[in-house]
């Protein structure tokens, strides 16, 4: 097992290397550069922009720029943003990454806590009223564009009822301790549910189908025949076997935990990595694009590795040597 994990982790290195080359190449191939979007006000002399290009190294050949980037990243320096004057990439990313992590984990929690119980119940009593309404609800969630759901949520729960705040991650600067924690949670609720409920449908339906399929298989009949109680059959035998595809999905989901949710972040003004990533692409802010990309690549690889490891835990027949 350990050998397997070590081998997988070692495989990451060439993969990450390839990813950075491709992304760097693509980002540079797009027309424009970090300063071409700054033709702003004619009072700023064009020579100044040219001088800044020179200072940022944008006039160097792309392989040279890539090498400079790679050699500083290799020693842990992600460099300076080319768009946000005077800000380091590390500073920009760390200012956003925790927000994104909170939001994604909260949303994932909502998804799992809603989807798994309903999925199990639906498979226990297929074609029941609850099964039908859960399905309807799930597809409604899937079919509603995120921003629309977000606006409905804000309209009701924030403007009309006043239960939850509509913008940001805290209501006032300077809260501490428990108060701060509660405030953070309150700010997470609307965006978290908006994001989380949207993807419940997928998990719910997967689990239901898989459970129904497993329930029809021979070993479940055997388990029932040898006199196991219904809950033992359901949770110990059926659920465990039905979880495999869910784990695959979660592995992917883990990879997107940090990618942020651009639209939800925007509507709730929840400063996360998603909007930063989008802006950095628009601004051709190469160091930021690359840093976020690297983070995403690592989480996706780790997510898939974790999924593989969990297979073995859930299903003892799967072994890695």
């Amino acid at each position: 097992m350990y050998k397997y994990i070590t081998r997988r982790v070692l495989q990451f290195i060439p993969m990450l290397f390839l990813v950075t080359i491709v992304v760097y190449g693509l980002a540079q191939a797009a027309p424009g550069d970090p300063l071409s979007g700054e033709i702003l006000d004619p009072d700023i002399p064009a020579e100044v922009l040219e001088e800044r290009r020179e200072a940022l190294g944008l006039n160097d050949p792309i392989p040279v720029q890539y090498w400079n980037w790679l050699s500083s990243v290799a020693v842990g320096d992600f460099g300076q943003s080319m768009h946000y004057t005077g800000r380091s990439v590390a500073d920009l990313v760390t200012s956003r990454i925790m927000n994104t992590l909170y939001l994604s984990l909260f949303a994932l929690g909502v998804t799992i806590l809603v989807a798994i119980p309903i999925g199990i119940y639906s498979s226990k009593k297929p074609y029941s009223l609850l099964d039908y309404s859960a399905t309807t609800f799930a597809f409604l969630g899937l079919a509603t564009p995120n921003f629309f759901a977000a606006l409905i949520a804000i309209y009701f729960f924030s403007f009309q009822l006043g239960w939850f705040p509509s913008q940001g991650t805290v209501s006032s600067v300077g809260l501490t301790g428990f108060e701060y924690f509660i405030d953070k949670i309150r700010h997470l609720i609307l965006p978290g549910f908006t994001l989380g409920l949207a993807s419940t449908a997928i998990y719910m339906r997967y689990l239901r189908t898989e459970m129904l399929e497993v329930m029809g298989s021979d070993f479940i009949r055997t388990a029932r025949a040898k006199g196991l109680g219904p809950s033992s059959v359901l949770y110990k035998h059926t659920l465990r076997n039905a979880l495999i595809p869910i784990i695959t999905l979660l592995g992917f989901e883990f990879g997107t935990l940090l990618s942020g949710a651009v639209i939800t972040e925007a509507v709730f003004n929840y400063p996360g990595l998603g909007t930063l990533f989008l802006n950095s692409i628009q601004n051709r802010d190469y160091p930021v694009i690359m840093a976020i990309n690297l983070i995403l690549a690592v989480t996706i690889l780790v997510g898939n590795l974790l999924a593989d490891i969990f297979y073995a835990i859930v299903d003892p027949r799967i072994r890695y040597d």
Binding site: P42, D43, V173, F268
Partner: protein, 607 residues
């Protein structure tokens, strides 16, 4: 609340969200508002809007406050995007950062409603006879937020920092504020220890000396002043990343408010500075809140937002809804920026963009009659009425109405007139051949039009222009829109198939001189237009000694505007209005042409 009502509201909200999705980008376009000069984005002032019938009945707001000013209270002001967090004025670039800097920092002189310079940190100034020396007499009881006195040394420090050899490589872009000073070339090259052009005569007198007589001297010396005792020990090359650029306590200005705390990307808390030299502000604090455009209206209605500033303001589509709110008042002003359709007059090799000898005329657009016909064929009034709900103005020349250089009668006005356009084209020899016209030689005639994304109205204008021109038989090949940075990259290059392109400028209020983007040798002369008379008129308007007489400059700009409208190197399309909104209980804001934040100590909240 009835079911149908909320559904409609939600639908409205969501449609405004769809707009907001584009609106977000608005700020990103080069020609848009994100990165302005100190006063790059400006609005039509109150009086002017009254004259042109744009007022919304709120124009008395700043003149007749309801009763006596009250002290106390906190207001929340909204903006659509977060600042970049560069709160060192020397290095800021976006209008969002400026929203905070405008309340915390001040300059020697500022501008009034008519864009005339008025005293701020300097109570008086005088020029020498040659207009090469400008002496400022500073207010004496001004203190920085930490209590230290403000002196002439701070002014010298500010301008010397901008001229520093490391300034640009550290990320600074405001060299235009120092480059006219005597000794700038030597200092920036590292050949001099001091910048000759700015000198403290005594604690409260500072003298600027310019290399040449400088008709823009006041504008050039109107940059924010920073504190030497705070920044003096930091090398200029490290200033932008130093903690003093983003740590709330270390951002020390002379303004009425002081940034005391913030939550990045969400809210910025500015508390009043009790020892402010013009008297303690009425308000206890101003909180800038970053809000999404889609829920801005709801927040205004719930009193959660007291003021909505540029860039952006209230989207024209929502203006009626916001105006209908009893607790909110709106105010509409012209923007100094404008949108245009340029002709690409010359093509040429990429590596010598500015070397006129390498330019090759783009024969398709050399005919001035064609350009005039096109101006008649485009329904610009339709853009303003249809796409902007009337919140905008058709431009005939490039000076905004607020500017003293504006003269309504100077330029020729090309009204939307299809018959006239057809007539001109017929006379000029563009013969019909099937659905379209040929060029005067009888060959196929197609114009390529490029446009950028990022400004929703401009994106919608492009296909209408194509349609308008097809109506008079001009075939337009409309290229699919590109992202702003890609579009401007192409515009900058000469070697393209581009015949026409859409773009916009947001202009600084400091001085109306257009030579920075119209002179044939200017880097920003994107149309690559080259005309001797055109250049000469622009230069005459800024050449000493005649140009020190403003009447003379006005006359020159009238001539230039007229010549511009005759030749039409670009077709100015429209300038969109900014719609401000503020809570009815918030009084004392002076809505000036270019700026609403520089009298914030007078704002007060009715409680």
């Amino acid at each position: 609340m009835k079911k149908s009502t909320w559904l409609i509201s939600v639908l409205l909200l969501s449609s405004s969200m769809a707009l907001a999705a584009c609106g977000d980008n608005n700020a990103e376009g080069p020609d848009n508002d994100e990165t302005d000069g100190q006063e790059a984005i400006n609005e039509q002032n109150n009086n002017e809007s009254n004259e042109d019938g744009n007022n919304n009945g709120n124009d008395n707001e700043n003149n007749e406050p309801a009763g006596e000013a009250q002290s106390g209270g906190t207001i929340t002001a909204g903006m659509y995007s977060a600042p970049d967090h560069q709160f060192n004025p020397l290095f800021y670039t976006t209008a969002y950062d400026a929203n905070i800097l405008d309340l915390t920092f001040e300059s020697l002189v500022k501008q009034d409603e008519n864009l005339e310079f008025i005293p701020s940190l300097a109570h008086d100034w005088e020029f020498n006879d040659e207009f090469t020396e400008l002496t400022y007499y500073l207010e004496e009881d001004v203190t920085w937020h930490d209590g230290e006195p403000f002196t002439a040394d701070d002014v010298v420090f500010t301008y010397t920092s901008i001229a520093d050899p490391d300034y640009v490589s550290a990320g600074g872009v405001r060299t235009n504020y120092a480059s006219t000073l005597l000794g700038y070339e030597d200092y920036v090259a590292g050949d001099a220890d001091t910048l000759e052009g700015v000198e403290a005569i005594d604690d409260h007198t500072v003298q600027f000396t310019f290399t040449d007589p400088n008709i823009k001297a006041l504008a050039d010396t109107s940059f924010y002043i920073v504190a030497e005792h705070i920044l003096g020990d930091i090398p200029v090359g490290e200033m932008a990343e130093h903690s003093s650029a983003y740590t709330a306590d270390e951002i020390i200005g002379t303004g009425p408010f002081n940034l005391t705390d913030y939550q990045e990307g969400e809210q910025y808390i500015l508390d009043s500075y009790e020892d402010y030299w013009q008297g303690a502000p009425y308000l206890d604090s101003v909180v800038w809140q970053v809000v999404d455009e889609a829920i801005m209206t709801g927040m205004l209605q719930n009193d959660e937002l007291h003021l909505l500033n540029r860039p952006g303001g209230v989207p024209a589509a929502d203006a009626d809804d916001v105006e209908a709110m009893e607790n909110v008042e709106i105010l509409e002003m012209q923007d100094l920026g404008y949108q245009y359709m340029a002709f690409k007059h010359h093509h040429g090799p990429n590596d010598s963009l500015l070397d006129k000898d390498t330019w090759v005329p783009n024969e398709k657009v050399q005919d001035v009659e064609l350009r005039r016909a096109i101006a008649h064929a485009i329904n610009r009034e339709g853009f303003v009425d249809g796409l902007m709900y009337g919140a905008g103005q058709v431009m005939h020349a490039t000076f905004p109405e607020a500017s003293w250089a504006y003269n309504e009668d100077a330029p020729i006005k090309y009204d939307y007139d299809v018959d006239r356009a057809n007539e001109i084209l017929d006379e000029a020899g563009y013969e019909w051949d099937g659905d379209f016209r040929t060029n005067p030689e009888g060959g196929e005639f197609t114009l390529n039009l490029d446009y950028p994304t990022g400004n929703e109205i401009r994106e919608r204008v492009a296909p209408i222009i194509q349609e308008n021109l097809q109506e008079v038989g001009i075939q337009v090949n409309l290229n699919s829109p590109r992202e702003a940075s890609a579009h401007f990259d192409r515009v900058e290059e000469n070697d393209t198939e581009m015949d026409m392109f859409l773009a916009g400028w947001s202009l600084a209020s400091g001085d109306p001189d257009p030579s920075g983007y119209f002179l044939s040798t200017a880097a920003y002369n994107y149309p690559r237009y080259d005309d001797e008379t055109f250049d000469q008129l622009m230069l005459e308007a800024i050449t000493a000694p005649d140009a020190f007489d403003q009447d003379y400059r006005e006359e020159k700009y009238n001539e230039w505007s007229e010549y511009f409208s005759e030749q039409l190197p670009v077709i100015p399309l429209y300038s969109q209005n900014v719609i401000y909104a503020h809570n009815a209980n918030l009084h004392g804001i002076t809505f000036k042409t270019h700026q609403i934040l520089d009298d914030a100590h007078l704002w007060w909240l009715e409680q």
